[in-house]
């Protein structure tokens, strides 16, 4: 016997529609501050969704609490704006119950890394097929400007008038340390790159984690200007791509090589080093992913942006279904009446 869910899905099935970005815009007014980086992420997401070949009624956006977590209201899909830090846990349950859905989590650096840190790391290791977009603005936006777990040390905010004391998380390293299978970073001000990454995240089987640098122009304006603005971007960012050497610089005249096991910047201009000396990225190499992610806060190194790791590993909910199928094959479908009467029973006349 089918479950009610299966019956309902069958009864309401429609042909896959052709979408444009507009189809993914809900009827709700977008309420972010004018100029907020969230707008661009929303736009890119809405742009990528039509390409995924997934009907929008099969998509669910789950979020916690924060400016970023308002995201689901603006997507014309199913959505769940939940409580602070718990989107990953809710999405996990949803995906386990409904492996047929495309499940997305939108979270912030506070929501995902502070109060939600535990569910985050456990989701990573479990590899449930959920796509996590973390809008990292290095600040608590919604509560009006306290420092976050990704804020740089010494940050002066409402709650740290003398400067914050905590060394920040590097979300990519944290995810890798938690045995994530897909870890990437992108930028609110680089729509093309973001689209590529979101697409790759959607395609990845298992949990995909995408950190997106996002400008909060009200409480932390310019936090990423160095990496997003024309003047400085080329010299400050290295885009990592599978199978390609790590080259950067406006004139593509710099590269990253491994000195021992420490990455260092070398010039490709003065003749001592050439492209063939450079580190070549391999998305499937866990060790290399650590090395690249670890570049993040290292002085003198450009900020790595792109896909750190994209690894195949069994997907949690698929294995769950496999166990169920296995049990059902071996023991046939559960018969409740039989179970109730199984084992030691006796009859009173």
């Amino acid at each position: 016997m089918n479950t009610l869910v299966e019956d309902t899905l069958k009864a309401t099935a429609i042909d896959q529609p052709k979408y444009s970005a507009k189809d993914f815009q809900s009827d709700q007014d977008v309420r972010w501050c004018p100029g907020c980086g969230d707008y661009s992420i929303l736009a890119q997401t809405q742009r990528v969704m039509p390409e995924l070949g997934i009907p929008k009624h099969k998509m669910v956006f789950v979020s916690g609490i924060g400016c970023s977590s308002r995201f689901p209201y603006y997507m014309n899909t199913y959505g769940f704006h939940s409580i602070h830090g718990r989107a990953t846990a809710i999405a996990s349950g949803l995906k386990m119950a409904r492996p047929d859905l495309s499940v997305w989590v939108v979270t912030g650096d506070g929501d995902g890394m502070s109060i939600g840190g535990n569910h985050f790391i456990h989701l990573m290791r479990r590899n449930i097929d959920v796509n996590v977009l973390l809008f990292n603005n290095q600040i608590y936006g919604l509560t009006k400007g306290q420092y976050s777990p990704t804020s740089e040390k010494g940050k002066i905010t409402k709650s740290t008038p003398y400067g914050s004391l905590d060394y920040p998380f590097n979300p990519a390293s944290l995810a890798l340390g938690a045995s994530a299978t897909f870890v990437a970073r992108s930028l609110d001000r680089d729509p093309r790159h973001m689209q590529t990454i979101i697409r790759r995240a959607a395609d990845h089987r298992g949990t995909s984690f995408v950190e997106i640098y996002q400008n909060c122009n009200v409480f932390n304006d310019g936090a990423f200007y160095q990496f997003t603005e024309k003047e400085s971007k080329d010299e400050s960012v290295v885009f990592i791509e599978h199978g390609k050497p790590l080259v950067f610089g406006k004139e593509k005249d710099k590269g990253i090589r491994l000195n021992g096991f420490s990455p260092e910047v070398v010039s490709l201009k003065d003749g001592s080093w050439s492209v063939s000396d450079l580190l070549v990225h391999d998305e499937k190499d866990t060790t290399l992913s650590f090395i690249l992610a670890d570049m993040t806060y290292k002085p003198g190194l450009p900020r790595p942006v792109g896909i750190f790791l994209a690894l195949d590993r069994p997907v949690y909910e698929e294995e769950m279904v496999r166990q169920i199928n296995f049990a059902q094959e071996k023991q046939s479908d559960g018969d409740m009446a039989k179970l109730l009467n199984s084992g030691d029973t006796w009859i009173v006349q």
């Binding site: 309401t12 009624h57 769940f80 704006h81 349950g93 949803l94 296995f326 029973t345």
Partner: protein, 613 residues
């Protein structure tokens, strides 16, 4: 072989006690199953320490299992035991208080060596100093007899030692005239791949039986005839198992997938264990990283169209409370089972208590009403959680199902219900986009529609911010907030229209009404019955629902002169009754990690009847 006298008993209570490593829980369970199959009514109380395996011979390492069975109706595991089987000195020391005067003690003499005596704080050997003179003491060197039975098998002494509980079991089977077959079958099945252990256990079990049969030490055997239970097929069931099965039955009946999101915690873990077995039923169990993820994953699953459930005990509920508030706001079905234990904080993790009632009622920020269904006996856990599921699905709401450690671990014979005649709780998902609004409520139940992601044209968003009536859009409008707050409260109140009225056991008016809820059922029933047998005007009202109250509860209360509310807490239901009905109800409170003894309630009723309360 000597001829033994056979004496007939209508009821008896036996307590098995020994080290945590002595296998007393297993012994008790085997005795229980066999007794159940014989057709006795029964009730059990396992009682084990918080430590996994405390050092042998210590007082805090003692593990006990009490079973009360008879040819009459049995409602409690027995206030005191008639027979105490003590595997060592510590077990005797800890459990002697539970033995009736003149009761029987069977001791394993090997467990009374100097080390044992010292560890259990005996200055003298109680078997030797006359301190047990008022009991009937049978001394058996179980350890030695076990070793003898196994001597040709060449087993390690550890393994020999581990078999000795079967000797005790065999003796007790002989003494109470129970067949060994069920246990023999169980041993054969359990140790099918460990022939040595199988052989050892079988031998020792039979040796125990033969010891009773052969030696002169026991002069009398007892017979306890079957109880006059309602006809039908029975099984023995613990409360935790009944919860698991009740949920499975509810999901099946509703044609939904059952999704359990849980985190292990004593004494609720066994529900998780039980449910994780039934993959062939499509049950999905998820051991989450903590209680918060447990409930959140269940809520996510409910959003997806599963029957989402979460199981825990008090400290776990504390952690879940924010998410329960979310479930109230998003109005999705969710069943939260709390197998209550001794609090506050970590408290007495392996002991029973009823002190989480007010937490269930009020343990959330804001006005966040949640219906509460309480189970009253181990087997009743099946019905209680089934009913909780029914309400969750019909009213689109989180529902608490309260049980406790005593119910969860305790067991009783259960008249197996006919699965087909269980209530029909079919529900449906909204499919029609026409006129759809996420918070457009059913006129009768006030439930909002349940729409599963995957349904085209019904895309919508839910969340924890206040919603606009009907549309479900975020709304900060003052009047709307008041309306929605009242609608959520009203929805829960309307459940009262959907449940049967409360029924009084005994007369529907009179001197004393004893009002209870949850696992105190058996003790209250027994106490009230005893008074009624003496012709006293005492009745019993046991509340299956604490929120909302059944519609006729007020009426019932007003018809009695005295209202007594026995609870295993400092007085929680009594507060609710007083506040709601302004009746001068008084509490009888016990907070010792132990269930009520019927006699305790009986005495209190006595006092009230005599005007001394």
């Amino acid at each position: 072989m000597s001829e033994k006298t056979v004496q007939s008993l209508s009821e008896v209570t036996i307590r098995f006690a020994g080290d945590s490593g002595d296998g007393m829980q297993l012994t008790g369970t085997q005795f229980t199953n066999t007794t159940a199959i014989l057709g006795n009514d029964l009730s059990t109380l396992p009682d084990y320490p918080a430590e996994i395996r405390a050092p042998a011979g210590t007082l805090f390492g003692v593990s006990g299992f009490q079973i009360h069975f008879g040819s009459m109706e049995i409602h409690t595991p027995g206030d005191q035991c008639d027979v105490l089987v003590a595997m060592n000195a510590a077990a005797l020391k800890v459990n002697l208080v539970s033995l009736i005067d003149g009761g029987t003690i069977i001791v394993n003499t090997d467990g009374f060596n100097d080390k044992n005596l010292k560890l259990s704080g005996y200055k003298e050997n109680p078997l030797r100093n006359g301190s047990l003179d008022r009991y009937r003491v049978f001394e058996v060197d179980i350890t030695k007899l076990t070793a003898l039975a196994l001597q040709d098998l060449n087993l390690s002494s550890k393994m020999v030692d581990r078999s000795k509980n079967f000797f005790a079991l065999g003796m007790m089977y002989w003494m109470y005239n129970r067949p060994m077959e069920p246990t023999i079958e169980w041993i054969n099945g359990k140790f099918v791949n460990k022939p040595e252990i199988k052989e050892a256990n079988l031998r020792v079990l039979k040796a125990g039986w033969n010891y009773g049969e052969t030696t002169e030490i026991f002069a009398v055997r007892y017979e306890v005839g079957p109880a006059k239970l309602a006809p039908g097929r029975y099984r023995n069931i613990t409360g935790n198992q009944a919860v698991a099965w009740g949920m499975m039955a509810a999901a099946k009946k509703a044609n939904l997938e059952l999704f359990l999101g849980s985190y292990p915690i004593t004494p609720a873990s066994d529900i998780l264990h039980e449910l994780s077995i039934y993959k062939q039923f499509g049950v999905k169990t998820f051991q989450a990283e903590d209680e918060i993820a447990g409930i959140c994953s269940a809520l996510g699953a409910s959003f997806g169209g599963a029957l989402g459930v979460t199981t825990t005990s008090g400290p776990g509920v504390a952690l879940k409370s924010e998410a329960i508030g979310l479930a109230v706001m998003v109005e999705l079905p969710l069943v939260i089972v709390n197998v209550q234990r001794g609090g506050p904080s970590t408290g007495l993790p392996t002991k029973t208590e009823q002190s989480d009632l007010l937490q269930a009622l009020y343990g959330r920020n804001g006005e966040a009403p949640v219906p509460i269904v309480a189970a009253s006996t181990p087997a009743d856990c099946f019905d209680a959680v089934f009913e909780a599921s029914r309400l969750a699905l019909k009213f689109m709401t989180p529902v608490f199902c309260l049980t406790d450690g005593y119910l969860g671990n305790g067991s009783e014979p259960w008249l197996i219900p006919d699965y087909n005649s269980l209530p029909d709780i079919a529900c449906s998902f909204r499919k029609d986009a026409e006129g759809f609004f996420p918070y457009l409520r059913d006129e009768q139940t006030l439930a909002r529609p349940w729409v599963i992601p995957g349904t085209p044209g019904l895309e919508h968003r839910i969340g924890g911010l206040e919603k606009q009536h009907i549309t479900g859009n975020v709304s900060y409008d003052p009047a709307n907030h008041e309306l929605m707050t009242k609608l959520r409260a009203e929805k829960v109140e309307r459940i009262a229209d959907d449940i049967p009225p409360a029924t009084v056991e005994g007369d529907d008016h009179g001197e004393v009404l004893v009002v209870g809820w949850g696992g105190t059922y058996g003790a209250i029933k027994t106490a009230v019955m005893r008074h009624r047998q003496k012709g006293h005007s005492v009745s019993h009202l046991h509340l299956r629902y604490v929120n909302p109250m059944q519609k006729n509860v007020g009426e019932i209360l007003y018809r009695f002169k005295h209202i007594l509310v026995p609870e295993l807490n400092l007085g929680q239901l009594v507060k609710v009754l007083r506040a709601k009905y302004l009746v001068p109800a008084t509490g009888l409170n016990k907070i010792q990690g132990l269930p009520f003894k019927a006699i305790e309630i009986e005495k209190k009723i006595d006092e009230i009847l005599k005007g001394n309360a």
